[in-house]
Amino acid sequence: MTTPLVELRGVYRTFVKDRQTIPVLQDVNLSVQPNEILCLVGESGCGKTTTGKIIVGLLEASAGEVLIQGKPRSAYRRAEQAQLRRDYQIVHQDPFASLNPAHTIEQILSFPLLRHKLVKSRAELRRRIWELLTMVDLTPPGDIVNKYPHQLSGGQRQRVSIARTLTVQPRLIVADEAVSMVDVSIRIGILKMLHRLRDEFGMAIVFITHDLALAKYFAWRGRIGVMYLGRVVELGPTPHVIGQPAHPYTRALLQAVPEADPDVTRRKQPMRLRSDDIPRLTAIPPGCAFHPRCPFYVGRVCDVHVPHLDVAEGFAQQVACIPVQQGQLRPYIDEQAGG
């Protein structure tokens, strides 16, 4: 097996707010292989963005190990660390906020190229910028270079953001809700472009989203990790997680999502949860954090023991649910999904 680009081992992350310690991530174990697509899904506050930021090194873990190509970041020399920062890039959600409104697109793209001395001359700089804009399908580049962000549509701006990450030829890109603010009609184009860039440059992509259908589409040949209240509760190949979900939380999500198909969506039978409310991060329930809502809850097991992500009989994916791991919850196949 190749060395993963990033490996999180038992990662914890806490934030302090109003003198209260909030555990945002607890015991997260994940790795990203070169050229892989990994999708992190979950509801707001589940820790998916924090995980993404730890992967690119924008945040540090409070406890646990983060291995970058097999070694902790601190084991690298200064120059190597600078290279690592270039190798791991992030695309943020809001293309209105992430591009400086006072700079032209040409300036936005030239800063990283100049800062990292990736071009040797004015002519090369210009050539490289045109090349980058062509890569993200902003053609003809001549129409774009002198524009300011406000003159572009949301989709075009997000393409500029992606082009900016490509300036430093990263090995991994975290796309954090990168198409959530873009119109439905244009989303697929950006996702296809990310697929193509990944194939062309051999990058890995960590795609963070709350939209399960989008995750399914984007990561069909990759893996999905489902997060709930700071933990990864299910992790495995996308067709398995979507078609044959193991964790009760994943099942609840899949059954709750409306589908763009009137017959299918009206035939769905949403799972009746024991409680509709997500617990606060400051009061995470003991044992399995999902147990107060879980219809398959087993007393004196789920409320006592914290389940760890592990294999379970009958499933291709890993799951953090004790009843499933013990074979008490049978594989469930949604007759509508997985077709």
Binding site: I188, G189, H210, P258, T265, D276, I278
Partner: protein, 338 residues
């Protein structure tokens, strides 16, 4: 089909911008029947929100209604043109006949007063006794699956996003309006919260039988709760019909393109397509069909002559503004077979 309670004819709305007049809604006509849910779908900027702001006459200062009528039928059968009501009459019409639920519940609730006071204020403005309003509100809060006593006395910040959205839903029904306008009511909420809001909405609709004008860019939500769908593009309704017709037998190239860009969980590996280009400039809209620049089916006449909205051959309730609708339908059949 049940009686028509709202009939909008040739409604046009524009905004004054520095560069000129933005024709945000042009010549829109539709009917809303008693007890039905009509969903407007389309990309941002297609005019679906403007249309609904015009219906409740809360356009921003730069916006104006250029033409059109909006005939509303009261419960007693009396018909009124909402656009001709004076300020006082219109204020009374709002909430007692037509209410609205906006996206982002936090912005719609006053942060410094309790839910109970909002309810009392609304009731007082419409001459409803306090005690009646309280009873009604507690009953509705229970119906939207909230703990009535607790929520009634809360401030908005004490409630979660999903709870707030359900409070708004309850308040919108306080005066038993015939129409509720909902602008992206589940857009900013999580999956399980969205599910509980949709379920509550469906229950309430069954029980209280109001009509809903639902605005969403989310085809999945529309597929689930709408009886009829109207596709909007560049300020016009380009297709309108029963939900099954629109999803399974779309006749407009734009509707087909939208469906072809929406991923489905149940579909396995999918081949999806984006719509090329971007929506037209509504200050200088293109001649002919406004979609022709992005359309895979466009023929010469699309560039010059705007196609009228007219019934399809096999379904009179399904209207489409596309001269190539037969080719669109054939293409849809091909996609379905794959």
């Amino acid at each position: 089909m049940s009686e028509v309670i709202l009939s909008v004819r040739n409604l046009s709305v524009s905004y004054l911008a520095r560069r000129g007049r933005v024709r945000a809604v042009s010549n829109v006509s539709f009917e809303l029947h008693a007890g039905e849910t009509l969903a407007f779908i389309g990309e941002s900027g297609c005019g679906k929100s403007t249309l609904n702001l015009a219906l409740i006459r809360t356009l921003p200062k730069t916006g104006q209604i250029d033409s059109g009528t909006m005939i509303y039928t009261r419960r007693d059968g009396q018909q009124i043109d909402v656009l001709k009501l004076n300020k006082q009459e219109h204020r009374r019409w709002l909430w007692s006949e037509c209410s609205m639920v906006f996206q982002g519940a936090l912005n719609s609730l006053n942060p410094v007063i309790r839910i109970s006071d909002m309810i009392y204020d609304t009731a007082a403005a419409h001459g409803i006794p306090r005690e009646d309003a309280r009873k009604q509100a507690l009953d509705l809060l229970e119906k939207v699956r909230l703990d009535p006593q607790r929520v009634f006395n809360s401030y908005p910040h004490e409630l979660s996003g999903g709870m707030r959205q359900r409070v708004l839903l309850a308040i919108s029904l306080l005066l038993r309006p015939q129409i509720v306008i909902m602008d992206e009511p589940t857009t900013a909420v999580d999956i399980l919260t969205q599910r509980s809001i949709l379920d509550v909405l469906k229950e309430l609709r069954r029980e209280l039988n109001f009509s809903v004008l639902f605005i969403s860019h989310d085809l999945a939500v529309a597929a689930e709760i709408a009886d009829r769908i109207a596709t909007m593009y560049a300020g016009e309704i380009v297709e309108i019909g029963p939900v099954e017709e629109i999803f399974y037998r779309p006749r407009h190239a734009y509707t087909l393109a939208l469906l072809d860009a929406a991923p489905r969980l149940s579909a396995g590996a999918e081949e999806l397509h984006s719509i090329p280009g971007s929506p037209p400039d509504l200050i200088m809209p293109p001649p002919g069909c406004k979609f022709h620049e992005r359309c895979a089916f466009a023929v010469a006449s699309c560039h010059t002559t705007p196609p009228p909205l007219r019934p399809t051959h096999d379904a009179a309730c399904h209207l489409v503004a596309c001269t190539e609708s037969e080719r669109v339908l054939a293409a849809q059949r091909k996609i379905m077979r794959q």
